[in-house]
């Protein structure tokens, strides 16, 4: 799974507008379908609520994490990440070997498999899927990173897949390229694939081979899946699986409370806390692989080194970036922005990946005095007016960008602005859309920004975002953004990046990866602010035997139970409450739920009603005055 930049795109604004206008937000969706009261029937649908809709069901098009959850339900991959600790384990491939000369990898594909329409599923489908990405153009977007070193994919027989690589590649047991049915996808050429929706028409499920088959999708509302009876790990216990899309966090919380959904994914911290006290709900405060950062413009340039953009020169000085790192109180951010559901950040590989994460020896704590000292050294002393200025007496003014789509981002930038202003730096904060931010990042027209990434088990992709080659590129006078949003470029780092990309020994590679994190930590293109927890919650009575990934993390907590790397929960989940689950419930927590919510709902409804009346009066008034003059 390829969670690009925890791009929680949030509910589309237009859709949000529609909900807001129809009146009581967060209450309306729940009341539409009271039919979805917890299924007494054991194999009724298992319903999962989420606040981000799938952007595309075409695995070559989708970007958001939610989409990749759908792909892995529909299509197999060669290998997957284990539930225990993300180590590579078999999926479609039973076993795999690297040739002695490190030039070919041979995968043994499970025999006697079929696609859901009865067509045999063989190594030829796998070879087709890889070659499609290797030879493709548009197909490279999501999976190009996996096949960068693969020159050829061949299927000598139905159960053997041979991948030829141009150089030793450690990534080969983690190729998250979805294996697609050749007989379906060969009809869709390289041009058509760009707009191919891959959605079910006339009730026929999409041809797949994962544990579930997609049978229906209503954009912005729900996705319905049926269990695949021919799946090699066995038919899942729930016959039907439904993903419902909610426009906002409150609505999702209410839906879970009312039993409209059995599982809520990616909840807002306050909503999570509020519903955690409910006796029928099991909160899941899961260790997570996201991080958020304050990123700096380290000197924007094209990949060839040509400077671009209007970034502030002060930020090219490592000391200034370090100073800003010392100026951020990460614990306050965790407490206030995440309501305590997270851990202060350090490096770009989250601590969840215990073998790869570097715990810095000399962590940036909140130390304004030290930050001020570094700024003095860098040539930005305090002026008479209490503002930092350079040697010419020009005040040090930095622009700070937050994201419109994220409440956390907006809160974070307000804190950062406050801390920087305490240091004497003038800060101009602006909130922009994520699309705008990508553009500004690409063109180098920014100083400081707030964003985050979701890091996958293999560190290659994340580490690549700091290489010189990932800076912007220019074609015909147009500048295109690379993956690097800090425009960081460091020779030693690039050397280590190339080195880790050929180290097939996990221990050696982890050592290199830690060295790279140290460089990033010292050179400070980012100030990693926090690692947010993944907040999920489920109804205790609806199902049991869900699987956490990983089983335990650095701080001893288990990970998330859905939206994982792999379909572990879907394979194992059983209907009904666990036989002896009572004790493990969130018992003993205060039961303020019932009393807590009603005043808010009544109050909100009252406020909206009054607003509505006021608006009606006004509009009526205006209409009348228009009529009067006609």
């Amino acid at each position: 799974m390829h969670t690009r930049a925890l791009r929680r795109t949030g509910a589309a604004l237009l859709a949000a507008a529609a909900v807001a206008l129809t009146g009581a937000p967060g209450i309306a969706p729940a009341e539409e379908s009271p039919s979805a009261v917890p299924a007494a029937a054991a194999t009724g649908p298992y319903t999962v609520g989420m606040t981000t809709d799938v952007d595309s069901l075409n695995p070559f098009t989708g970007i958001v994490a939610e989409s990749f959850e759908m792909y892995q339900l529909m299509y197999p991959t060669l290998t997957t990440s284990s539930a225990e600790d993300f180590s590579p384990v078999p999926d479609l491939a039973e076993s795999w070997t690297e040739s002695a000369d490190q030039t070919t990898w041979t995968y043994r594909i499970r025999p006697d498999l079929t696609w859901s329409d009865g067509t045999p599923l063989t190594a030829r489908d796998a070879a087709y899927s890889f070659n499609r990405v290797i030879d493709g153009d548009y197909e490279q977007t999501n999976y190009g990173g996996y096949v960068a070193n693969i020159t050829r994919a061949e299927a000598p027989d139905d159960t053997t897949l041979v991948l030829t690589v141009s150089k030793p590649t450690p990534l080969m047991d983690r190729l998250a390229v979805y294996i697609l049915p050749e007989h379906v996808w060969r009809e869709i050429d390289g041009k058509e694939v760009r707009s191919f929706p891959n959605e079910p028409t006339d009730g026929q499920p999409i041809v797949g081979a994962g544990p579930y088959l997609l049978v229906e999708r209503q954009k912005g509302q729900f996705l319905r899946f049926q269990a695949n009876p021919t799946h090699w790990r066995g038919k899942p216990a729930f016959d039907e699986l439904v993903f419902r899309v909610y426009e906002n966090d409150d609505a999702l919380g209410q839906a879970l409370r009312k039993g409209e959904v059995d599982f809520a994914h990616d909840m807002q911290a306050n909503v999570f806390d509020a519903i955690s006290g409910d006796s029928v709900i099991t909160p899941i405060e899961a260790a997570n692989y996201d991080f958020s950062e304050i990123g700096f413009n380290t000197g924007a340039a094209l990949a060839d080194g040509t400077p671009i953009g209007d970034g502030h020169p002060a930020l090219r000085d490592t000391r200034v970036r370090q100073a800003l790192n010392w100026a951020i109180d990460r614990q306050v951010l965790v407490d206030k922005v995440l309501a305590g559901h997270g851990t202060p950040g350090s490096t770009v590989i989250p601590p969840l990946y215990t073998t790869l994460h570097l715990k810095p020896a000399n962590p940036y704590t909140y130390d304004p005095a030290r930050a001020g000292q570094l700024l003095d050294e860098a040539g930005y002393p305090l002026g008479a007016d209490g503002k930092r200025q350079d040697t010419d007496g020009t005040p040090l003014t930095l622009r700070l960008l937050g994201r419109q789509e994220s409440q956390e981002s907006q809160q974070t930038v307000q804190f950062v602005q406050g801390w920087l202003e305490d240091l004497g730096i003038t800060v101009e904060t602006k909130i922009v859309s994520e699309d705008t931010l990508i553009e500004l990042n690409g063109q180098g027209n920014f100083d400081i920004f707030e964003w985050g990434w979701g890091v996958e088990p293999d560190p290659d992709y994340q580490l690549s975002t700091f290489t010189c080659a990932q800076r912007s590129s220019e074609d015909d006078g147009t500048i295109y953004a690379g993956l690097s949003d800090s425009h960081f470029c460091n020779e030693e780092y690039d050397r280590l990046y190339a080195e880790q990309a050929t180290q097939t020994d996990p221990v050696q590679r982890a050592e290199t990866v830690r060295q790279m994190q140290q460089i990033l930590y010292d050179e400070a293109p980012y100030a990693v602010t926090y690692y947010p927890d993944m907040l999920q919650a489920r109804r205790t009575d609806a199902a049991h035997a869900l699987v956490a990934q990983p089983t335990t993390s650095a701080d001893g907590r288990p990970g998330r139970q859905l939206f994982q790397f792999g379909t572990w929960t879907y394979d194992a989940i059983q209907p009904g409450a666990a036989p002896a689950d009572g004790a493990s419930d969130a018992a003993g927590t205060q039961d303020t739920s019932a009393g807590g919510v009603s005043p808010a709902v009544i109050g909100g409804a009252a406020a909206l009603a009054v607003l509505g009346i006021a608006a009606a009066v006004l509009l009526g008034r205006r209409r009348r005055s228009d009529e009067d003059v006609e």
């Binding site: 307000q414 109050g603 005055s625």
Partner: protein
């Protein structure tokens, strides 16, 4: 007194005499002086009438209260109190002696935020109304004054804007322009002028048929002269009454757009507060103190402007006042 006012009754005549008298014994007042005196008198009369309107006065009291609070915000609550960094409260804590209206998700006092919000909401509401009124008046007067294809064209242009649904247009504009206070003012301004324009055009048409405009034309007054010296002063009272109503709409629009996350999230307007409550899960938490104060403030101010606007309308439009009494 507006053009459509009643013929001067005995009472009005007395006023006129009373005002004119001190100047009369020595010199004959110039026409300009007379006009000024007449206007002063009519303003005084309008105020007398307004004072008799109980809803209008109630609205005025509410409005003055909010305006005072808005002006005094930095004194009552120093800027530090609404800075997230210096916030001292617990996140989303209920009302307590220290925080009479509770706190938001960052631990800031809702009371302080609401008072500061009055500043933003009022400023945006007034500024957007000025923009809207300027566009609406200019286009309205021109559309009414010029006959032929200019007037027709302007009229169709107004109609075209009038039929575009407000919210989608505002959302698209706000998205394209980016989230900032100035942009919100512009967006509301350029989406809400057509109503004013039509009102002004209708009034202009009626004024244009009056004999004194014919006289002005006969004396060789140009279009600009006619519009600015004769038409404009006579549509102004109506425009002002309409403006007051427009402010109410502008504040509601600002609240709507900010609530949808299209305003400047860093400026604590009432809409932005409601948006903050919405996105930080205040409803599920049961934090009514976060939702109700900004909501009720919007209602109060919008209502105040509406009451004042209607009272003013009744004064400048005697037909309306006749109906109401």
């Amino acid at each position: 007194m507006g053009l459509r006012g009643p013929m001067p009754g005995p009472e009005d005549a007395a006023d006129l005499v009373a005002v004119a008298e001190p100047a009369a014994p020595l010199v004959v007042p110039s026409s300009r002086q007379l006009a000024r005196a007449r206007r002063r008198a009519s303003r005084g009369r309008a105020w007398q009438q307004f004072r008799r309107s109980r809803p209008g006065m109630a609205g005025l009291v509410v409005l003055v209260t909010f305006a005072t609070l808005a002006v005094l915000a930095p004194v009552l609550f120093p800027p530090e109190t609404i800075s997230v960094v210096d916030a001292t409260g617990d996140p989303l804590s209920p009302p307590s002696p220290g925080f009479p209206l509770g706190t938001d998700e960052s631990g800031r006092s809702i009371l302080a935020l609401v008072v500061w919000g009055a500043r933003v909401s009022l400023v945006v509401g007034l500024a957007a109304t000025v923009v809207s009124m300027l566009i609406g008046t200019v286009i309205g007067v021109m559309a009414g004054h010029y006959r032929g294809w200019v007037g027709m064209g302007l009229n169709r242009f107004t109609d075209w804007f009038l039929v575009i649904p407000f919210l989608p247009l505002a959302i698209v504009l706000a998205t394209v322009l980016g989230a900032s206070l100035l942009n919100i003012i512009i967006v509301i301004g350029i989406t809400s002028w057509p109503g004013t324009a039509r009102l002004v055009r209708a009034q202009t048409l009626s004024v244009s048929a009056r004999p004194y405009l014919e006289r002005a034309r006969a004396l060789g007054g140009g279009d600009l002269h006619q519009m600015t010296r004769h038409v404009l002063p006579n549509v102004m009272p109506l425009v002002l009454a309409n403006t007051t109503l427009m402010v109410a709409l502008a504040i509601l629009s600002e609240t709507t757009l900010s609530f949808l996350g299209l305003g400047d999230p860093l400026a604590p307007s009432w809409g932005a507060l409601l948006d903050g409550a919405f996105t930080s899960g205040a409803m599920t938490v049961g934090a009514w103190w976060y939702v109700l104060p900004p909501g009720l403030c919007v209602v109060a101010v919008v209502l105040a402007f509406t009451l004042i606007g209607r009272a003013l309308e009744a004064i400048v439009d005697p037909q309306l006042s006749g109906q109401q009494r």
